[in-house]
């Protein structure tokens, strides 16, 4: 039998799907074929069981419609054989005198659905379409199943996800959902999984941050303990914190406020008042230009401009990479070397621009190596 014209227009490139009807009732088989052919399927009919079983092998149908009342054939047996050997052929049981018992039996044996012969054409088509989808999916699963089983040897989230999706799909099919919906569902699940992975990442990040903070606070507690949690030790504690963190982080100040029972406001007043404290992270290296009187008289301002132009930052600032902080100090006490700049622990007497550049470059290099 041929495909109807209208369907052929739309599906010319796709070979039509085969459906086999095995039924002794010729008039029903004919009307059924008609309905299905209208739906775009190629239908082959067999009058008895033997012919029918042969057809299943030769025609390679996606769906088979079976009448269990037919002579010469043990339908539950056929159904079992089908599910074992050819799972991609989806059986639908269709009968004239349907009873609940026979329906249950056939479903148990692996039938996809159970219809009565009084079924309306729309219902028939709908059921067949679903059965065809399942068949296609089973075929697909069989093929990908091979690939997946290989990939399974190297476990990976992505393939686990895929397998899970397939399980869900199979389950959903038996619930009567369409493939398209399932694909949407799958895509949704995938995005959901991604979202959770991201959240998990964030949670882990937060966990790390909390751990860091915890370690910070433990370190601060050790400092506080040194001074016996005395209120009057605030400046000493802050000096230790400044030395340890290279600045005064807010969470640390909050912690100290609680531990020493000093209002946070008070702590900020102290931190702002004294020169040694910084409320922003300082660089890993400090360039201190001495602006003591002796240095000033011997040209500290020029030295400061040179250093500032070289580092690209103003006194008191830290560069973006947090490698250098440029500072002025009131006296380093090396007045004999004036004008003097201290870079980390090393003193330099009135270095020229190229000399400064050399020192800065070598420090950067050291850092890159480390």
């Amino acid at each position: 039998m041929d495909v109807t014209k209208e369907e052929a227009d739309g599906q010319s490139k796709v070979s039509p799907i085969n459906i086999v009807i095995i039924d002794g009732d010729e008039s029903f088989a004919a009307s059924c074929s008609k309905t299905l052919e209208k739906g775009g399927y190629r239908v082959t009919a067999a009058k008895d069981g033997q012919q029918g079983l042969k057809l299943l092998d030769t025609a390679g149908p996606a769906v088979v419609l079976l009448d269990p009342k037919m002579a010469g054939m043990d339908v539950p047996e056929v159904l079992r054989r089908l599910s074992e050997t050819q799972p991609s052929i989806v059986p639908i049981v269709i009968t004239g005198q349907g009873t609940v018992n026979s329906a249950v039996e056939s479903m148990k044996a692996g039938a996809f659905d159970f219809l009565s012969k009084q079924v309306k054409p729309e219902k028939l088509l709908d059921t067949v379409r679903r059965a065809v989808s399942l068949s296609a999916l089973r075929k697909e699963a069989k093929e990908t199943g091979k690939a997946v089983s290989e990939l399974r040897r190297q476990p990976s989230d992505k393939y686990d996800l895929l397998l899970q999706g397939l399980d869900v799909l199979g389950e959903a099919y038996s619930l009567g959902l369409e493939k398209r919906q399932l694909l949407d569902e799958l895509a949704y699940l995938e995005s959901e999984a991604k979202h959770h992975a991201e959240s998990l990442g964030q949670i882990k990040k937060k966990e790390r941050a909390i751990l860091d903070i915890r370690n910070d606070l433990l370190a601060v507690d050790a400092m506080l303990k040194k001074y016996d949690f005395q209120k009057s030790s605030l400046i000493q504690v802050l000096l230790d914190v400044q030395e340890h963190f290279r600045w005064l982080p807010r969470h640390v100040l909050n912690w100290i406020a609680g531990r020493l029972n000093i209002p946070l406001r008070e702590i900020y007043i102290v931190a702002n008042f004294y020169e040694a404290f910084s409320l922003e992270p300082r660089g890993r290296h400090t360039v201190q230009v001495c602006t003591g009187t002796a240095c000033y008289l011997r040209g500290a301002s020029e030295l400061l401009i040179r250093a500032s132009a070289l580092l690209g930052i103003q006194p008191g600032q830290t560069d973006i990479k947090q490698s250098f902080t440029l500072e002025t100090v009131h006296c380093l006490g090396c007045c004999a070397l004036a004008p003097v700049v201290q870079i980390d622990t090393q003193y330099y007497h009135d270095p020229s621009r190229s000399k400064l550049e050399k020192v800065v470059k070598s420090l950067e290099k050291e850092e890159a190596l480390a």
């Binding site: 030790s233 007043i269 102290v270 020169e275 003591g292 020029e302 132009a309 006296c331 004999a336």
Partner: protein
């Protein structure tokens, strides 16, 4: 290690250590103060130790890392004991020579000794060098003799003998009387008699009583206190313990600047050692005296050096001074009687107790007794720490000890007393160093910073420098100081930028008077001193800035420009390489010129140009930018 239980224990131990020290015939005392460290003194000491080890002559030569010897200009300094030879500017490459000469007994390594520029003679002995010859080193004397991190060294040179004497032979009253008789005046700035302060604290009601060492040496260009704590912390501590005994204090504080890590380290170590030997703690040397000391780090605020601000900082607060209707000696830390003295003041105490008030009074002038340490810095040949008897003239300090102004420049003025002091011009140089005399001429003794200025120093700029410092460091509590310094700075900025107007000087004078009268603490009251004294002695320089828009010393950058003297230029290109803004133009035939529009007047080219050519020169500014609207002083309307 045993705790001293009786005073006799110290004497016994001293005997033992001295014989140990004497077992090595020669000691090399390497200065390891911050100044010499900057020159590489630590590496030098290490290579000396290494060389001694290598030659296996540890029984003949000992190496000692000591505190500051004072002659920072020529560091690293080594003094050979007992010969007294002094090596200057020594480098690790000289180490084999030094050891060779010591071992062979050949004498001194001549090329490392002091060269007298006037007659070309080498002076090998420390006492012969002019820098040391005119000094009288009492407080600093022990610095070269001891390793500051070793209490035994201090005990060996007679340390803690004064404490023993005070505890065994004197009552607290007689100690106090001795200090009063010596007329020891506070070395930190004010010159307030220490004995009177001690007495007030002793008689004040309230327990416990505190004694405090003020080592918050905030004056730029002064580092006497640091050198004392770095070089001889036990000397200061001994003075403090004696003070506690006389006053009846049970707790002490040492307030050290954060910027002095080495001084802090040595002080912490000294306290630990003193505790171990029972010189701090309960029943010191078996007496009734119980006393302990805590170290407190300052966090960088000039005002914290003021007594009430310092005490507030020790309590953990912002270091702001408070009005002193009641003296801190009566109500200081936590409202208890507290006696605060400067490092140098405490360091003088053991010497007075040991040798008596009479001996101390034999030095100095009528009102100022003893010696004073100055840090002689700036435009002077021999930069360093000098200890001189009170009453010596400024001229002697600067020209005899300091060697005068380098590079054949003319002396212009000397600034004493740090940012709170004033300048003293050439005609007043014969003034004796004395608390009262210096105050009379508009300066002050201060903590002992002595900054020499030559003809290349602009007085307006110097005043601006100090005022900027004070404006920045003003704690902001009282209006006269906070606003006064800011307004002064604005006016001085204007003058230095070429925007000065007639009447600016008078306005500055008016402001000065107001600040002196109305400020809360001594720092505010003395804040206008630099401006006042520069106006007093160098008014013409201010006038030139204001009327002619000219800076005679060629310092104020707005009033000068840099140019290249084509006749002197040898086209080496050093200026071009060093210019940070590419303002130096090189023409095809290699003629270098400075593009004035681009120039930021950083002076990089001036520094880079080799001294023998000096082709980059300073000239008067070609034009002075207009004053932006609203940039003037707020006071003038």
């Amino acid at each position: 290690m045993t705790r001293f239980k009786t005073p006799a224990d110290i004497a016994k131990l001293r005997k033992k250590i001295v014989s140990q020290r004497n077992s090595k015939p020669t000691w090399l005392a390497v200065c390891a103060g911050t100044g010499c460290r900057a020159y590489g003194a630590v590496i030098l000491a290490e290579s000396l130790e290494h060389e001694v080890d290598k030659r296996n002559v540890g029984d003949k030569i000992g190496v000692r890392r000591t505190g500051c010897h004072g002659f920072c200009q020529r560091g690293p300094v080594i003094v050979v004991e007992p010969s007294g030879a002094c090596y200057l500017g020594t480098q690790p490459k000289n180490v084999p020579d030094i050891i060779d000469n010591v071992l062979s007994g050949k004498g001194d390594v001549e090329h490392l000794t002091y060269l007298d520029e006037q007659n070309g003679k080498r002076l090998s002995l420390l006492e012969e060098i002019p820098f040391y010859k005119y000094q009288k080193r009492i407080v600093l004397a022990n610095n070269p003799l001891i390793d500051a991190s070793e209490i035994l060294d201090y005990i060996a040179v007679g340390g803690y003998a004064a404490l023993v004497k005070a505890l065994t032979k004197m009552t607290p009253d007689s100690v106090l009387q001795e200090i009063k008789d010596a007329n020891l005046r506070g070395r930190g700035g004010g010159g307030f008699p220490a004995g009177r302060k001690w007495e007030t604290t002793r008689n004040a009601h309230g327990e416990p009583k505190y004694v405090i060492v003020n080592a918050d040496e905030g004056d730029p260009g002064a580092y006497m206190d640091r050198s004392l704590l770095e070089g001889n912390p036990h000397g200061v501590l001994e003075g403090l313990i004696i003070g506690a005994y006389a006053i009846g204090a049970t707790e002490g504080f040492i307030y050290v600047r954060q910027e002095y890590p080495l001084a802090r380290m040595h002080t912490v170590k000294a306290l630990d050692q003193a505790r171990e030997y029972g010189l701090l703690g309960k029943n010191i040397l078996g007496s009734d005296l119980s006393f302990d000391v805590t170290i407190h780090r300052g966090a960088g605020a000039f005002v914290s050096g003021e007594s009430s601000a310092l005490m507030s900082a020790i309590e953990g607060h912002v270091g702001e001074p408070r009005p002193k209707y009641i003296h801190t000696s009566e109500k200081g830390i936590y409202g208890k009687p507290s006696c605060l003295n400067n490092v140098e003041t405490w360091a003088n105490v053991p010497h007075i107790i040991n040798k008596g008030a009479k001996w101390f009074c034999s030095m100095g002038t009528k009102g100022s007794k003893g010696t004073k340490i100055f840090s002689l810095v700036g435009k002077v040949k021999n930069t360093g720490l000098v200890e001189v008897p009170m009453g010596i003239s400024l001229r002697d300090i600067i020209f005899k000890i300091g060697g005068g102004v380098p590079n054949d420049k003319k002396f212009k003025a000397v600034q004493t007393g740090g940012p709170s002091g004033g300048v003293i011009p050439e005609p007043l140089l014969d003034l004796p160093v004395d608390f009262d005399e210096l105050t009379k001429v508009g300066s002050m003794m201060g903590s002992g910073g002595m900054i020499v200025m030559d003809e290349d120093t602009c007085m307006v700029d110097a005043a601006r420098y100090y005022t900027n410092f004070l404006a920045h460091e003003s704690c902001g509590k009282c209006v006269p100081c906070r606003e006064g310094t800011r307004q002064m700075l604005k006016i001085l900025d204007n003058i230095a930028s070429g925007w000065g107007q007639e009447g600016d000087i008078e306005l500055l004078e008016e402001l000065s008077e107001f600040m002196e009268t109305a400020s809360l603490c001594a720092l505010g009251q003395s804040a206008p001193f630099p401006v006042r004294s520069t106006i007093k002695y160098f008014r013409d320089e201010y006038d030139q800035h204001i009327r002619e828009k000219c800076c005679p010393a060629a310092v104020c950058s707005a009033l000068i420009a840099y140019e290249i003297d084509q006749e002197k230029c040898v086209k080496c290109g050093a200026c071009e390489r060093n210019c940070p803004v590419n303002a130096i133009n090189k023409s095809e035939d290699k003629v270098f010129t400075i593009v004035q529009e681009k120039c930021i007047k950083c002076g990089a080219c001036f520094t880079a140009c080799p001294k023998k050519f000096s082709a980059v020169i300073k000239v008067r500014a070609h034009s002075i930018p207009k004053q932006p609207a609203g940039a003037g002083a707020l006071l003038k309307q």
